[in-house]
């Protein structure tokens, strides 16, 4: 319907688009301000309802955007900063990429909000309201992040999600360990944010603007060094937010927060902000091959490192956390090799299946009364059939078994990697095998075999309420079918609907995506087949090894111990950052402060006291000596006056 495009359409949409972030903001204000008076039912209604309303509006906009002849549009709301040479409008970017993210954020967000109403029901009403207020604020910030039409607005959202992440990780603030995890997440994110901020400043000095349109239009004329610098700084920001080497250690610790938070923030949405940002700025990244290589290498390294760690973890959420880090690594690999559609596709499918897995894990934790160690689980499939089936679907999806969604998106990234460099492909497949292995290890230890927990836990085992299982079922359907929007060319011509949908955004600069037509179809099919067979082997191995898992005093040696201790990365950071900083602090405290600054202050006092003690001796009470001093002083004054030059 090309005839409908015109000013009319723009007006309708500009009114609608500002509603999308507005609803969660309202929800945040209502729940935040009324937390002492609202009842739990009302809080749930506001919390879930506002995000659901955003989702409905996003859907309406989506139907407009997917029409033929839609042009990416910038909706200008008001001037944010307007001073001197700097003009920053508060504007929203409405195009295929942002609308896709809107759908993921509000859609998955609604399900997770719904799930939270049941998961958090033990909390007292004020804390319940605080939780939903934070969650709504997070959705608002995230929407701002993906909707912003310039890097400044994006940065506001970027900081906002970091703040909400901090608040929600430390939601149970009475536990010091959780607070430490929250602080760790915040501080590590700050390192990345500094990169973002510097990149924005650099853009202002180079291009005079931070608007996407202006920056991308002027990008090709700028010196290559500048573009490389800006993109590297942006990528530093992405490593912080999206938990890549070297700033990934905060994400596993972030599992201290409530499980729905892990699902929403630390799996489905916030951690993909880095991928969104790189994909959004792909015009700049295409101009900087050095950065692209860096991204691909770091992504691949993170994917493999995190996968090896996940194999040896025993905390159900930690396994999923490392799995998230690993999958994010895959997305960056996709971005690095130019398979932008693949990366975005993987963001989408990952949002579905990882949210599903986290919510499933939450369901298990809920049933086990906050037990998270999978060595104490086992045999749960009898007790929790819905959780079991949906979790299995999530595992199959993440492992990459066709036709589950993870297969298509991961395959697209791996094919993109193969075209760029077959070594990337081989390593990527190795990571995929590890993914399948640790996911089915997790599955087998949780749901198969005999129950290994206490008798009390066994008696209390129950399936979760429907507010928890309904989101699980919906996400399971999405995890199963979500891949069908991106069926590769090999299976059906022009079936990759997502690629067509995103094409206007991701090919704007005329730099074509790494075309996957280079591989012959038969070769591609062969690669796929081999990969799937290997993955099936890994799954079989994991199921066989861990289905009959018995608890015994095992102590891993060599490589296993390295994995179990997370490659000692935390210890390494401790040794190279914390220890020197602490000893520097100790030095400043013990030496500079005590001897230097305190020395000066105390020295002043001591000097005055000493001088007073000595001067007191003059006050002898002997009239004669006073007069003598007077006379001597007078004589001295006379002598000075004699030699005084006027």
């Amino acid at each position: 319907m090309p005839a409908r495009s015109g000013p009319n359409q723009v007006i309708v949409m500009s009114k609608l688009i500002s509603l999308v972030p507005l609803f969660p903001l309202l929800g945040f204000l209502i729940n935040g301000l009324g937390r002492k008076i609202l009842s739990k039912q009302l809080i749930s209604l506001v919390g879930v309802g506002t995000v659901a309303a955003s989702f409905v509006v996003s859907l309406l906009i989506f139907f407009e955007v997917r029409q033929e002849g839609f042009q990416p549009d910038i909706v200008h709301l008001f001037n944010f900063i307007d001073t001197g040479k700097i003009h920053i409008p508060f504007a929203f970017q409405v195009d295929q990429l942002s609308i896709l993210f809107l759908l993921i954020i509000t859609g998955v967000g609604t399900l997770i909000h719904l799930y939270s109403t049941a998961y958090m029901h033990e909390e007292a009403a004020p804390h319940f309201a605080r939780y939903f207020a934070y969650l709504n604020l997070f959705v608002f910030s995230m929407l701002l992040l993906v909707l912003g039409a310039n890097y400044v607005i994006m940065f506001i959202g970027w900081e906002g999600v970091g703040l909400c992440s901090y608040l929600l990780i430390g939601f149970w603030f009475k536990n010091d360990a959780f607070n430490d995890a929250a602080k760790k997440a915040f501080v590590m994110n700050r390192i990345g944010d500094l990169g973002f901020l510097l990149a924005v400043f650099w853009m202002f000095s180079q291009f005079g603007s931070a608007g996407f349109t202006e920056v991308f239009a002027q990008g090709p004329q700028a010196p290559a060094m500048v573009i490389t610098g800006i993109t590297l700084l942006l990528f530093l920001a992405a490593t912080g937010k999206s938990a890549q080497i070297p700033l990934f250690t905060w994400l596993p610790d972030a599992m201290a927060g409530p499980t729905p938070v892990s699902a929403l923030i630390h799996a489905a949405t916030m951690v993909t902000a880095g991928i969104y940002m790189v994909a959004r700025s792909h015009v700049l990244f295409d101009l900087a091959p050095i950065t692209q290589h860096t991204i691909a290498l770091i992504g691949l390294a993170t994917a493999l490192l995190a996968a090896t760690i996940a194999i040896k973890q025993n905390d159900i959420k930690k396994v999923l956390a490392y799995s998230t880090v690993s999958q994010l690594g895959y997305m960056f690999l996709g971005l690095g090799v130019g398979a932008y559609t693949g990366a975005i596709f993987h963001v989408m499918t990952h949002a579905f299946f990882k949210a599903l897995l986290f919510l499933g894990a939450g369901s298990v934790i809920h049933a086990m009364h906050h037990e998270q160690d999978i060595r104490n689980m086992g045999g749960l499939k009898k007790f929790m059939p819905v959780t079991h089936i949906t979790f299995l679907i999530g595992c199959l999806a993440i492992a990459g078994i066709p036709p589950f969604s993870g297969f298509f998106s991961k395959d697209e990234i791996l094919m993109g990697a193969f075209v760029r460099n077959p070594v990337y492909y081989v390593l990527g497949v190795a990571g995929a095998l590890m993914t399948a292995f640790y996911m089915f290890r997790l599955y087998a230890m949780t749901f198969q075999g005999q129950f290994r927990g206490t008798e009390k836990q066994r008696n209390d085992l129950h399936e979760s309420p429907s507010a928890m299982t309904i989101p699980l079922i919906i996400l399971a359907i999405l995890s199963f079918a979500g891949g069908l929007v991106g069926i590769p060319e090999v299976f059906a011509r022009d079936a990759h609907r997502l690629e067509h949908f995103l094409a206007p955004v991701l090919q704007m600069a005329g730099v074509s995506e790494t075309s996957q037509g280079h591989l012959s179809h038969s070769f591609e099919l062969m690669l796929m087949g081999a990969t799937v067979l290997l993955i099936l082997g890994a799954i079989f191995l994991a199921l066989k090894t861990f289905s009959r898992y018995e608890r015994k005093g095992e102590s891993a040696g060599g490589l296993g111990r390295l994995f179990e201790n997370k490659w000692y990365v935390d210890e390494l950071y401790d040794a190279i950052v914390n220890k020197p900083l602490k000893s520097l602090g100790g030095f400043l405290n013990g030496v500079v402060e005590k001897l230097g600054i305190d020395g000066i202050v105390n020295g002043m006092g001591r000097g005055v006291q000493y001088a007073g003690r000595q001067l007191r001796l003059l006050q002898s009470g002997q009239v004669g000596s006073y007069i003598l001093i007077m006379v001597v002083a007078t004589v001295i004054l006379f002598i000075i006056q004699l030699f005084w030059k006027h």
């Binding site: 009470g621 009239v623 004669g624 006379v631």
Partner: protein, 111 residues
């Protein structure tokens, strides 16, 4: 007679006064030395007054230049007389209390 002689005399008297104040411990002697210093100043004032008067007289027969200093001298004498009466009263009181006029015993104010 040139004014220099008067100045030397005044300096000599003043130095004798200072030396007396510094070296003697008897309060009455110190008192006398202070009088000596005051009178040294008086001599200076009178002699300078005379000097100015003679200089001005050569120009103007009816001048009164320098006469103020003569008045000052009388003021100083009156004040000195008052001071002596007060000072001697203090010394008498001191002698009654500590049976001594030695100023070195008057060091109680140091604490």
């Amino acid at each position: 007679m040139p004014v220099n002689y008067y100045i030397f005399l005044a300096i000599a008297l003043f130095c004798i006064g200072i030396a007396g104040v510094l070296t003697r411990r008897n309060a009455i002697i110190i008192f006398m030395c202070i009088e000596l210093m005051l009178n040294a100043v008086n001599i200076l004032l009178v002699s300078f007054s005379r000097m100015h008067y003679l200089k001005a007289l050569a120009v103007d027969k009816a001048t009164t230049a320098g006469t103020e200093a003569q008045l000052f001298v009388f003021f100083i004498m009156v004040v000195a007389a008052a001071e002596v009466s007060v000072g001697l009263a203090i010394i008498v009181m001191m002698y009654r209390n500590i049976h001594s006029v030695d100023v070195n015993f008057l060091n109680r104010l140091k604490h």
